[in-house]
């Protein structure tokens, strides 16, 4: 079930809403979005089922192409990473200006399920330099659904939650030809962005295509210090098409090509010369299925990633090396719904097959010596098959959503060289292993006094990631240790509770949220003092181990206040904490953080002043390379204006980020690399209808 906001504008802005009748799809929408739009649009809540129970946060992206909705984002054409960072639930780990790694509930890649339109896809870099979010761009996407904890189990076994990047599609709307052209510039790193799209859509057929190109030089930190190796260059092409076979039967296909070159990673000892992805899918949708089942939606997909690290631009390295990695995934899913009087069921069957291979070749300083070669990911084949079911059950005084997933996951080490390498550490290690994963979650939503209350209790587990299970001397520059996987790790299991209260006062909305993860067999690297380092200059070797347990909790408060019809404020405060069974701090846990902004909207003009910051990171762990990151507060301002030129529209937006050129870094900045200093941006988009 989805709760949908049907956003309708006043007639003068109707032109801008042609392409999007349904704008937002759940109740938690980025605050900016609602506030900015609220006065000019009537927000009608369409309940297609019973009561809202999803905890999804939706980050809306597509609308940057559409003039009115440009106001939704303070900085249209920003990177996808910046969109994600604007979310309340997500934080981003940064190793440079490009390819940030999303963190949800203080958990990153291996504890999350990140998918593109439901497709599973896995990065090809052993050092997490290519999160999946780096292989799509805002030009492809309609929105991003962020589901916390086991609410994300629909897309795969997870602990922290899921991030589903949904592609933009014209979806048989009778719009005919629509084209747009966008360009942007940012002063700080001379970032040039140019993009365009051309779509054709009618009742029976649509084809969308878009392209975006970004190129940026090194950025300059607050105070004027240039951050070397922070440049990047990428382009992304995508096309998707749909065809109605007969009245209601739809055949859809999508294809994305993404390529980044010359990407600097200032926080790491290596850069990337090539990160390339081919992502394709074909799906079939029909409203009726067998018996009472409906909304049958099936997809087959394949994706292939090549990632090549490069140290040729670094003047001093102890040893030159090549580190290419490959990740190919093939998968499918098929789902159907069943609606009964008081129940709304969803059934889904899914599976994928992934091949992850990475190698490292080191070139000795003595050219007469042989190259040193190892497999860092020993061609691990993962075969995953799952069943998911959910039921949303109307209990009159409230709604109960229960969902469950069972998954069988098998690992095979296909490369004998790699298997023998790992058997140095684990002599009796089998070539194959199978794991059973399960998830169960319940969420109850009701009204208590005036507040919307949600209570959830869930259990889920996950298998170790390829690196955690089978990684071979993977260097982590943050804690300066080599990491070795352990194929005998237990599955990580999490018991999760969450609660939220939404108080809808007259002009003021207050939302309190909290969740708690008691994670047993929490997987983390532990120093193995007897092992000798491989990477020259590393401090030691860590082997992934199961902690007895770890506890994580996250609480947040956010509020929006409509001061006058055009003028609104919103604020957000969050606190996170993570400790193991001995009360030792876990790494990458956000300190107390806050945001506040005021918006003003009048006619086609919009303006925004925002502040965000964090307190000093008092709960850190030096053995994971962390230190006491200082508190900071930064300010930004932006202005936007829409101009109508005959039937077409031109939208201009400009702003200044980090107005006072503060030099700062956050807890999630790899090795404390400073963030960008003052940055002036200008974007311009022209839509031809």
């Amino acid at each position: 079930m989805k709760t949908e906001f049907d956003v309708r504008s006043y007639p003068k802005n109707r032109i801008c809403l042609k392409t999007k009748a349904l704008l937002l799809s759940t109740i938690f929408v980025i605050a900016f979005q609602l506030n900015v739009l609220a006065q000019e649009q009537a927000v009608i809540i369409v309940n297609d089922t019973i009561l809202p129970v999803n905890l999804d946060e939706v980050i809306v992206i597509a609308n940057y192409k559409n003039a009115l909705e440009h106001r939704a984002q303070n900085k249209p054409l920003s990177t996808l990473d910046e969109y994600l960072e604007s979310s309340k639930k997500l934080n981003m780990i940064k190793r440079g200006a490009y390819a940030w790694e999303p963190v949800l509930n203080d958990m990153s890649s291996e504890r999350l399920t990140v998918s593109i339109d439901g497709m599973r896809i896995f990065g090809a870099c052993t050092d997490k330099m290519d999160p999946i979010t780096s292989y799509v761009d805002v030009s492809n996407l309609n929105d991003i659904h962020v589901a916390s904890g086991q609410q994300g189990a629909e897309h795969g076994a997870t602990i922290g939650g899921s991030i589903d990047l949904r592609l933009e599609k014209s979806n048989f709307k009778p719009t005919g030809w629509v084209g747009s052209f966008e360009t942007g510039f940012e002063s700080n790193n001379a970032s040039r962005i140019i993009g365009g799209e051309l779509n054709y859509s009618n009742d029976n057929f649509y084809i969308d295509s878009d392209v975006i190109f970004r190129k940026a030089d090194n950025y300059v930190a607050g105070g004027g210090e240039e951050v070397n190796y922070s440049q990047f260059e990428k382009y992304n092409l995508s096309t998707n098409a749909g065809f109605k076979i007969d009245n209601d039967k739809k055949l859809l296909a999508s294809f994305i090509f993404d390529e980044a070159r010359d990407v600097g990673y200032p926080a790491l000892p290596m850069d990337v010369s090539l990160a390339r992805a081919f992502i394709g899918s074909v799906s079939y949708i029909q409203p009726k299925f067998i018996g009472a089942l409906s909304d049958w939606d099936s997809k087959v997909y394949a994706n292939s990633i090549t990632h090549i690290m490069d140290d040729s631009k670094r003047p001093d390295v102890p040893i030159r090396m090549d580190m290419p990695g490959w990740s190919d995934t093939y998968g499918y899913y098929s789902q159907a719904k069943l609606k009964l009087e008081k129940h709304a069921f969803l059934f889904k069957i899914d599976g994928f097959y992934n091949r992850s291979l990475a190698e490292m070749t080191m070139y000795p300083n003595d050219p007469n010596e042989n190259e040193m070669f190892m497999l860092t990911w020993p061609d691990v084949r993962t075969l995953n098959s799952g069943l998911y079911a959910e039921d949303i059950f109307d209990l009159n005084e409230g709604t109960l959503k229960i969902s469950s997933r069972i998954t069988v996951q098998g690992f095979t080490i296909a490369d004998e060289f790699g298997l023998n390498s790992l058997r140095i550490f684990y002599p009796t290690m089998p070539q194959r292993q199978t794991r059973f994963l399960k998830s169960f979650s319940s969420l109850y939503a009701t009204k208590m006094a005036k507040a919307d209350v949600k209570l959830g209790l869930s259990y889920g587990d996950r298998a170790p990631s390829v690196s955690e299970g089978f990684g071979f001397y993977l260097f982590n520059s943050f804690d300066n240790h080599d990491y070795i996987g352990d194929p005998n790790l237990e599955n990580e299991k999490s018991l999760e509770g969450n609660v939220s209260f939404l108080f809808p006062f007259k002009n003021f909305k207050l939302n309190l949220e909290g969740n708690y993860f008691h994670t047993m067999d929490y997987i983390i690297g532990e120093v193995s003092p007897d092992l000798s380092v491989m990477t020259i200059g590393a401090d030691g070797v860590k082997i992934y181990k199961n902690l007895e347990y770890a506890n994580l909790y996250n609480v947040s408060v956010d509020g929006t206040y409509q001061i006058t019809p055009g003028f609104s404020w919103n604020g957000f405060i969050s606190y996170h904490r993570g400790q193991d069974q001995d009360n030792i701090n876990l790494p990458f846990i956000s300190p107390f953080a806050y945001r506040s902004s005021v918006q003003y909207v009048k006619g086609s003009f919009s303006g925004n002043i925002a502040m965000n910051g964090a307190a000093e990171q008092v709960n850190f762990n030096p053995s994971y390379g962390e230190d006491r990151t200082k508190a900071y507060t930064i300010f930004s301002v932006s202005l936007g204006k829409t101009l109508s030129i005959s039937d077409n529209s031109l939208y201009l937006k400009t702003g200044v980020e980090n107005i006072f050129d503060t030099n700062y870094s956050t807890y999630a900045d790899w090795k404390n690399i400073p963030r960008m200093g003052r940055n002036i941006f200008l974007t311009c988009s022209y839509t031809i209808n």
Partner: protein, 280 residues
């Protein structure tokens, strides 16, 4: 269908041919085809052929195969053979560790090993004396041979004086190194005199493999070499985490655990004075 029949018949013929070869007295299939003939010595109407898996007499362990061919080009079975390699240095002569020469499964092929501890050069050379008895008659032949350093330049044998003032020769057995835990074995001899070398048993050879080009990276789960009385050699495990050049730092300990040669590897001491080398 025809093709399948042809394939099957070819297959059956080839099986019958290979299975016959073991008993084939006519030497139609040469049992040493996989090997290289290093030299052939002409003497006493016989030709003595020396074969090795290597392409030369190499410093270190050499497994050698001998065949004796008579005047009518037939290989002689059931001969008894002994040998003695001698190094002629400018100021002295010495021999080296060697095995007996024994018959192999093929009665006309004899084998044994010699551990050369140094190469020959312009002024110093090795010769090899072979004494053999055929049908009750004894013959001897001596000929100069060329012993060269290994082609890859790696140290496969180490000659050293222990803290007990004895002189030792340690040679590694041939190894095809893999990124894996490798079976690793070695032979240890004591030099009793210039001409007599006796195997040393029941000592321990501690193993610490290192990659000097990778900051002296080491590998886990190596097993020190101990004497296997059945195989009559020192056996241990050598773990190699990647390809490349590895220095196998060693320490020789006697039965009571006293170090006879070699040092521990530390931050300041990057290599042991007793070592062997491999590169792959």
């Amino acid at each position: 269908m025809k093709t399948i029949k042809t394939i099957i018949s070819i297959f059956l013929i080839s099986i019958s041919l290979t299975s016959c070869s073991d008993n084939d007295e006519n030497n139609e299939i040469d049992p040493l085809t996989e090997l290289n003939m290093l030299t052939s010595l002409q003497a006493n109407t016989h030709t003595l052929e020396l074969y090795s898996a290597q392409s030369q007499f190499t410093v270190g362990y050499n497994e050698l195969f001998i065949r004796i061919k008579d005047a009518s080009d037939m290989y002689i079975s059931d001969a008894t053979i002994s040998w003695n390699p001698v190094m002629h240095m400018t100021s002295m002569m010495h021999s080296c560790p060697k095995s007996e020469v024994s018959k192999t499964d093929d009665a006309s092929v004899y084998s044994g090993f010699i551990i050369f501890q140094m190469p020959g050069n312009d002024t110093e050379y090795w010769d090899l004396t072979i004494n053999y008895t055929v049908n009750g008659e004894s013959y001897t032949v001596t000929e100069q041979i060329e012993v060269k350093a290994p082609l890859d330049g790696m140290q496969r044998v180490s000659v050293f004086t222990g803290s007990d003032n004895a002189r030792y020769i340690l040679a590694m057995m041939p190894l095809e190194p893999k990124v894996a835990v490798n079976d690793f074995s070695a032979l240890l001899y004591k030099m009793e005199s210039m001409m007599v070398f006796s195997p040393v048993i029941n000592q321990t050879i501690a193993l610490d493999p290192r990659m000097p080009s990778m900051g002296n990276h080491s590998s886990p789960n190596n097993v020190d070499l101990t004497y296997n009385t059945t195989e009559k050699m020192y056996e241990g495990k050598l773990a190699l985490t990647m390809t490349g050049y590895w220095k196998l730092n060693l320490k020789l300990l006697n039965e009571s655990g006293d170090v006879l040669k070699g040092e521990d590897i530390t931050e300041t001491n990057l290599s042991s004075s007793l070592y062997l080398e491999i590169e792959f």
